[in-house]
Each structure stands twice: as C-alpha cells, then as structure tokens.
C-alpha cells in the first residue's frame, strides 16, 4: 500500500494545500485597500491578492487571496499571505518568488513557474493601493527592458524562458530566438540569463 506521506512536495507545501490560509470568501474586495491580479486561466495559473493597509505606518494588516492553479500555486499564495502580514509596503514589494519557495521548503524545479504569480499579484495590489491614495509617484512599475533589438526580446521574456526550463544560452535562444540575428546583445543576454537563474533557482 502507498505511504501517504510520499508526496512530490514538501510537508509544508502539503499543509498549505490541505488547509490554505486567508482565502477570500466570496468575490467582494470592496473592503480592501489594494487589489492585484496576475496570470490568466488559459495558461493554467491566475492569482488575485487583496490587501488592507494601516495607512500611517504603511503596514499590511490583512491579506486575502484567490488562486486558480495547481497545488504549488495554491500553497505559495497561501504562505505568501501569511508572510506579508505585518510587513511594510516596501518590504512586501520586495518579496521574491525564491523567498516564497524557501518558506515552503523548496519547490520542484518545474513548479517554480507556478509560484511566481503570487508576488507579482502582491506588487500589483501594492501599486493599486498607491494609485487609490493619490501616491502616483510611489507606483513602481517594473518596466520590461528590451535586450535584443532584432528579435524584440525583453528581460521579462528571458525570465519567462528561465522559468520554462532554459538554463544555457542555447536553450534561451531556442525559447526566445534572442541574439539570432546581429548577435550584439549576446553578453547582455547572458548576464540576464545568469541573473534569473540565480534569482529563481539559486544557481
């Protein structure tokens, strides 16, 4: 007979999947101070994060969420919602997917992709709070930077390719066609590749 403990995921992840924390009940987010949503159903992952903020201190006092996605998507949004309570907006804005994965005790490599939307949705919620409170100067947009002019490949495309499994420059080219025309961006592209490999996989 199977041993029920032998999951592809860590115990911590299983715990947050079995009993997710802070799910938004219903669809009403009007009580919240900032709401953000990322991903889409066609891709198989979508996350929505809603925050309440103590305005003077700029501290997150509550965080609720909804997620359409797999076990690691559900668990990573759940644990993220626990992590950010009590954080300042600036602290919360800088939570990385790697920290979320670490908090879960690690994720299988092909599952990292499913967990990066939570922090993006959180940043969107924080920006939404700034917008609603007339703090447009505080809105931090992470603009995409074009790395490869020939094939119009941005740093976000590189990040996406890394999350989809690209580890070498050749694999990156297979995913994005980057640097396949003039080749001038190769060094820049390699640096971005290393950056995202390190950011998401610590390698």
């Amino acid at each position: 007979m199977l041993q029920s403990g032998e999951w592809a995921y860590t115990d911590k992840l299983k715990e947050h999947f079995e009993s997710p924390k802070n799910i938004l009940q219903g669809n009403d987010t009007s009580d919240f101070d900032g709401v953000g949503m990322e991903g889409n159903l066609q891709c198989g992952d979508q996350m929505m994060v809603a925050i309440k903020v103590e305005k003077e201190k700029e501290v997150i006092s509550d965080c609720k969420w909804k997620t359409y996605g797999c076990a690691s998507a559900i668990a990573s949004t759940s644990i993220l919602s626990e992590m950010v309570k009590g954080m300042t907006l600036d602290q919360a804005f800088n939570v990385s997917p790697k920290e979320v994965a670490q908090e879960l005790g690690g994720l299988p490599e092909h599952k990292i992709h499913c967990s990066v939307l939570g922090d993006k949705a959180l940043r969107a919620a924080i920006n939404d709070f700034y917008l609603r409170n007339g703090m447009i100067d505080r809105v931090k947009k992470v603009q995409a930077r074009t790395i490869c002019q020939c094939m119009n490949v941005t740093d976000h495309d590189i990040e996406e390719a890394v999350l989809e499994g690209a580890r070498t420059f050749y694999e990156l080219q297979e995913h994005t066609k980057i640097s396949t025309v003039c080749g001038l961006c190769k060094e820049d592209a390699e640096a971005e590749l290393e950056k995202y490999k390190h950011l998401h996989f610590g390698v």
């Binding site: 949503m37 198989g44 909804k66 797999c70």
Partner: protein, 400 residues
C-alpha cells in the same frame, strides 16, 4: 469515514491479474535462455512459443506475425523507424510521407517529429470535437500521393474515443500506404482482430491489460516490409534482438487468456459504472463538461472538465481522499501545455487544464463509484471557492 484507497487510473497502468501473478511467480524458477539448445533452454523456448501462439490467436494472427518487444512504445518506435529506414535503404520503393493524427500517444508523435529531421514528411490529421479522425482529410491527403504509412491509434488513452480502423485501413491500402494502429488501449477492452481491421502493424502492451510492465508485442502482417529497431541478435526471427523476456512474455500470454475469458462481461459492467459516474457527476456538479465521444468510446474511460478548477489540484485533493485519477492539466505533466489530445478536439486551454480522466478497471465496484461521487462534488466546490475564475475582471489592472 474510514480511509479507503481506490484506483481509477487503469489507462495509466493496471494491477496484475491474480492468475498472471501466479503464472509469473512459478515461471520465475525457469531461467534458461530460450536460444540455448539444452533442456533449460528448450523449456524456456517452449513456453515462449506457447505464449506467442496464445497472443496471436487472441487477435486472429499467426504465431510468426508476433514480435515481442520491451513495451508498446518500443513497438510504435519500431514501426515508425522501419519506415525511415525503408525510405532510404532497405526498401527503396517506400514513399516518404507518414500520415498520423494529432491525438496519438507521445511515443508516436515525438518519434514522428524526430523523423522529420531524418528526411520524412509527417502530416497530422485533425480530429473533430469528439476526437474522431477527419476521414475526408485523410482521403484528400492520400489522393495527393506519396503516403507510405498511415498510423492512427485504435482508442485514445485520454478520452477513450475509438476510431474506425477498418475504414482507415481500407483507405490507406486503396492508395498504396501501409497501415499501423496503436491498439495499446483498445486491446483487451474491445475485440481486436487484425484481419477484420485489415492492418499491417498493430501494437499492444502487457501492463494495460493486467499483465506485467516491460512487455509489449507488435503484430507484423506476413510479407510486410520490416527492419529491426533493436539489432544484434537472431531472436524473434531476427526482428528484435535481445534475450527474450520469458517472464514478461508468459505474463502477457496469461493476461491475454484472462481477457479472453473476462473481457466481454467485464466491459458491460464497466460501461454501467461509467454511465453511473456520468449521471452522478452531471447531477451533483454544476458545469461538468464531458470530453470525448459520448458513445464510440472505451467503456472504462470517462474524461470530464470542471471549468474554474485546475486539474492537478483536483487530482491531489482526490489523492488526499484516497482516490487515484489523472489529469490533462499542464501542471501535472511537467510541461506548460495542457493535454494535446483535448486541445486537438478544439476545446480551450482552460477546459483542458480543468480536466480529469477516470479510467475504470476490473477491481472497481459500485461502492467505489459511489465513494467518488460522494467526494468529488466537495473537492470541486472547494477549489472553485478559492479560484479566481469567478471574479469578474475590471478594476484590478495588472501592473508588473
């Protein structure tokens, strides 16, 4: 509620039939090499040939037309690779195009993809919303000429849809192409007769019919061009090198014998269970969308989508309740794309991500089905409750 474990994933693999297990346990004592001339070898040889005769008989073939392989995947690779070899060297008359369908098993699709790099043209036939191959497209493509092989699976592993192989074979032959069918899912579930089907090649596998893993068989019609995929030995009349897997071969033959005894009544029973599931799911869960052909489908296979709920989550919440199913969601597969079969039937990616496959087998009972029907509605409700799918967009513009 006491903890139960119920297996509803028989299209992935099946438990050994008790008779197969018994046969294999006793066969473990026999270790002779069937190629040896002494008594040890002769005993093994006799058993292998006896098994070959039983497997052949169950599909209306002759013993000499059966090649034992290491798996169904190997048998499929053999047929497709025979073809690439044939187009260049062994059979120079062979025509350089393969026609297959978009819903084949990856061992056919990926091998075909690889053949493209080796100079073969591969065309993929579309299927309709039930998963039936477009026969007009097939004939149109055959008319153009140059097609050397048509390879269409008999029953689909994910949605259970059956193809009209007899008709496809006759069309293929009418235009001078050879015909292969991957019958891994159909064999042992519905009658398979190579002559009624009119195929030149047919693939079967042991572990889908309560036999052992690591054994498959390829039917090769007499005097059909052939070239071994695994070389370096005279075994299987020079058609597949490597010392015979005596244990697996005997297990496969026993599994076939058991299917011959049980298949007919078993399939009627499973069809009853499937209809009970279909009805129960439809009644108890809002917006349950069934995939595949409503009638022309394997009796044991039910594929259903629950929009707003993602398949891997469904699979794992069911797993926590002791129920084993599979899913067409991308997340469970390790890739980022949902089931190519479901997408080929024209449904959208969200519906494919939200699909599960329930595949029944000989151990499943009415009580098992009732348990699933008790558990599943709560699982879907729970997942939908935490899903973003029901939030109407608008105010929350996404900001990167």
């Amino acid at each position: 509620m006491t903890y139960r474990q119920i297996y509803f994933d028989h299209n992935a693999t099946t438990p050994l039939h008790p008779e197969v297990k018994k046969e294999m346990v006793s066969a473990m004592e026999m270790y002779g090499n069937p190629s040896s001339m002494h008594a040890f070898g002769r005993e093994a040889r006799a058993n292998v040939e006896d098994a070959r005769q039983r497997v052949a008989a169950f599909m209306g073939a002759e013993e000499s037309e059966i090649v034992f392989t290491g798996s169904g995947s190997e048998a499929n690779n053999t047929v497709l690779s025979l073809f690439v070899c044939g187009s260049h060297q062994c059979f120079s008359g062979m025509r350089p195009t393969i026609l297959t369908s978009r819903i084949e098993h990856p061992c056919v699709l990926e091998t075909s993809q690889c053949l493209v790099h080796r100079g073969v043209d591969v065309n993929y036939l579309d299927v309709d919303r039930y998963g039936k191959v477009d026969l007009d497209q097939l004939e149109d493509r055959l008319k153009v000429g140059g097609v050397g092989l048509v390879s269409v699976m008999m029953a689909n592993n994910e949605i259970g849809t059956m193809q009209d192989i007899t008709l496809i074979s006759s069309l293929a032959h009418q235009y001078g192409a050879l015909m292969h069918t991957d019958a891994v899912q159909a064999f042992g579930k519905v009658p398979v007769d190579v002559n009624a089907l009119g195929v030149d090649f047919l693939t079967v596998s042991g572990h889908k019919i309560y036999g052992p893993k690591g054994i498959g068989a390829l039917y090769v019609r007499k005097s059909t061009p052939y070239c071994p995929f695994i070389r370096g030995g005279h075994q299987e009349r020079g058609r597949r090198a490597g010392t015979e897997n005596t244990l697996g071969i005997m297990g496969l033959a026993m599994a076939v014998d058991m299917r011959a005894l049980e298949m007919e009544t078993e399939e009627i029973r499973l069809l009853g269970l499937k209809e009970m599931l279909r009805r129960g799911i439809g009644e108890r869960i809002d917006e349950a969308l069934f995939n595949g052909h409503p009638v022309d489908s394997l009796a044991n296979t039910l594929n259903v989508s629950f929009p707003g709920a993602e398949g891997e989550s469904i699979l794992l919440y069911l797993d926590l309740a002791g129920i084993a199913v599979s899913t067409g969601s991308a997340c469970a597969s390790g890739s980022l794309d949902p089931s190519h079969v479901l997408l080929a039937t024209g449904i959208d990616a969200e519906r494919a991500h939200g699909s599960i496959r329930i595949s029944l087998g000989r151990d499943n009972t009415v009580e098992d089905v009732e348990y699933l029907l008790d558990v599943l509605p709560g699982v879907i409700e729970r997942i939908r409750n935490m899903s973003t799918a029901y939030i109407k967009g608008g105010a929350h513009a996404s900001v990167r």
